[in-house]
């Protein structure tokens, strides 16, 4: 199928298919003052070759060519290049043929002999009509999508994300995904894989924050038997598992500098060397990576190699936080409510007006993941019906952010409330200290179950693993 680029009248291209050399010359002369690129051929075979090669915007077609019967070329054009406008030229008295041509998809016809004014006006009208049609098609193609490969949302911010994913997917270029926790970085990576020509291959995700640092290299590159204590069997790493597909390195900012240099070499050569192995293996992998930090700030801080940054930062894709997707909050909430209700075997009838207003006001610092938790909580603890503000218990979540301190103070993580403002300035703690205390308390209350603590804190487990690692070093 020959695809047409949208036509700008000034840059349109026209092909004249006419077996009479003098008529070709005349038409070319008639169109000489027009801004269009115009060329001519004298037979159907040449016409097909030029159409395939250049995909003109319009073909002026003589219906009776020496190497094709009356409507053959037109029929073939409509089948293989339906976006190309065709104006047919017929001899005097061939009106039935012209009518048949229009029925087959020609946009207009010219009866010979053709005057200059008639030729120019007919072709211009046909090109303008095609330009409008192409614009309509382009608009239809960019229609607002409310769902896209696991995403739900029709906000402008998400439309831009969907478009970037679609545009980036066909290439092998690395996409560097950034965004806060809970904004959908892995969903994005999976969407890119699903839209890419590698969709039939494996998608392998490796969360660099969720794996102890001394194991990341083995997870990424694999190991030979006996490569280290406990390596009882040879094992291929994520790089080899992703051969022919996509390797997604999540929280890549957690990778230490030594491993970053090995990753850089892998990116440059495509060669993988398992831990303890002498031989390298060549793999064909498309890289996607993500971080919830500002990668350039990490480079500036010396925590991320600049050369690796530039190697990976080919197509940046930033995911907007939910608070910047106000248009999507209620749509997501309704979708999640019905999904969780199905899972729990319950029947809910949506949200009250107050609940909807409350959800729109809420800052959703944990993004979609936090919204999921709120809705699941309401579905699990309630029998069904309409969800109101009481069922959402969002005030509790607000209060949890102002979590009580052992001495009875609270920790403002949002707008300071009146009580907090009234405290002595001596009560102000370093934010990092507050964060550490809250996380450690949550882990203790969950008997060391980090995923559970993460769920209660509305953060990704990887965030907690990363913090613990930082604190153990510091």
């Amino acid at each position: 199928m020959i695809e047409q680029a949208p036509v700008l009248l000034a840059s349109a291209s026209v092909l004249i298919v006419e077996d009479s050399a003098s008529l070709q010359a005349l038409y070319l002369a008639y169109l000489n003052e027009q801004p269009w690129q115009t060329r001519s051929v004298g037979c159907a075979a040449d016409a097909v070759a030029v159409i395939v090669e250049t995909a003109p915007n319009l073909v002026l077609l003589d219906l009776q060519l020496p190497d094709a019967s009356d409507l053959d070329v037109l029929t073939a054009l409509r089948k293989h290049a339906p976006d190309i406008a065709v104006v047919v030229a017929t001899g005097k008295g061939s009106i039935e043929l012209a009518v048949e041509a229009i029925r087959l998809g020609a946009v207009d016809f010219l009866e010979k002999p053709v005057t200059k004014d008639r030729l120019v006006q007919t072709l211009r009208n046909s090109l303008e009509r095609q330009m409008l049609q192409n614009q309509v098609h382009a608009l239809l193609k960019t229609e607002v999508r409310d769902r896209f490969h696991g995403f739900i949302g029709k906000s402008m911010a998400m439309q831009a994300v969907y478009r970037t994913i679609s545009a980036a997917a066909p290439s092998k270029a690395t996409v560097f995904i950034t965004g806060e926790s809970g904004t959908g970085k892995e969903v994005t990576a999976r969407a890119i894989h699903a839209e890419s020509p590698r969709r039939g291959g494996p998608f392998v995700a490796l969360n660099c924050a969720a794996i102890p640092r001394d194991l990341i290299e083995s997870e990424l590159f694999g190991h030979q038997k006996g490569a280290f204590t406990g390596a009882q069997h040879a094992r291929e790493g994520a790089s080899e598992q992703a051969h022919g597909g996509t390797l997604f390195l999540d929280e890549i900012g957690e990778m230490n500098l030594d491993l970053q240099s090995k990753l850089l070499r892998f990116l440059q050569t495509g060669a993988v060397k398992r831990l303890g192995a002498n031989q390298e293996r060549q793999v064909d992998v498309r890289f996607l990576c993500a971080t919830n930090r500002d990668p350039w700030m990490e480079v500036q801080a010396g925590r991320f190699r600049e050369d690796l940054y530039f190697r990976l930062h080919v197509i940046p894709l930033h995911l907007p936080p939910l608070r910047e997707r106000q248009d999507d909050v209620l749509m997501l909430a309704e979708e999640l409510l019905q999904r969780f209700a199905r899972e729990e075997g319950k029947l809910f009838h949506g949200f009250s007006a107050e609940a909807r207003a409350a959800m729109l006001r809420f800052p959703w610092l944990g993004n979609v993941r936090e919204l999921e938790n709120v809705i699941r909580y309401a579905v699990v603890l309630n029998p069904g019906g309409e969800i109101g503000t009481a069922q959402l218990r969002m005030e509790d979540r607000e209060n949890a952010r102002l979590s009580p301190r052992p001495n009875g103070d609270s920790v403002p993580t949002q707008q300071p409330d009146a009580a907090a403002v009234s405290l002595s300035q001596d009560a102000i703690e370093h934010l990092a200290a507050v964060e550490r205390r809250v996380i450690e308390r949550a882990i203790a209350l969950c008997q060391g179950n980090i995923p559970e603590a993460a769920r209660k804190l509305d953060v990704a487990p990887s965030t907690i693993y990363r913090k613990l690692a930082q604190w153990s070093v510091g």
């Binding site: 077996d19 009479s20 050399a21 003098s22 008529l23 070709q24 010359a25 005349l26 002369a29 008639y30 000489n32 009776q64 020496p66 001899g91 005097k92 008295g93 010979k112 002999p113 053709v114 200059k116």
Partner: protein, 141 residues
């Protein structure tokens, strides 16, 4: 083109659509068309395009002279019909159309007369165009 049969009897041309022009009838090649072409294209383009027309007409007449099989003649007549009308040779266009429409469904003798008439008229048009081109190119020099 000088070998083309140009000596046809008046009665042989009857009912062919190309009857001999009475005094005052339009010429084989209408010079007004040239004026229009010059107006639309400018003199240089007009000369170029008419030169192409003369070349094409010469080739078609030669091919028709060499191969008088009905299928070939009809195909050439079809092409000549539009081209001749476009460049001001309306009589030639009418004759070509007449020949195309009769589709060899006439006695051979009449068919031959029609073909000869068309060739004759074509030669007349060609001569007129070539003369004009010669004058136009000479005037340019």
């Amino acid at each position: 083109m000088n070998e083309l049969p140009i000596s046809m009897k008046q009665d042989e041309l009857r009912d062919t659509g190309i009857a001999k022009k009475p005094p005052g009838a339009r010429p084989a090649w209408e010079i007004e068309t040239v004026d229009q072409l010059i107006k639309e294209l400018g003199p240089e383009f007009a000369v170029d395009v008419l030169g192409t027309f003369a070349g094409e007409l010469s080739q078609r007449l030669s091919r028709m002279h060499a191969d008088r099989t009905p299928k070939h003649i009809i195909r050439e007549a079809h092409a000549l019909k539009s081209t001749a009308a476009t460049f001001g040779a309306q009589s030639l266009s009418d004759a070509a159309k007449s020949l195309e429409l009769c589709n060899h469904e006439v006695p051979n003798e009449e068919w031959d007369i029609r073909v000869d008439a068309l060739l004759n008229l074509g030669a007349e048009v060609l001569g007129a165009v070539q003369k004009w081109l010669l004058d136009a190119r000479g005037a340019k020099k």
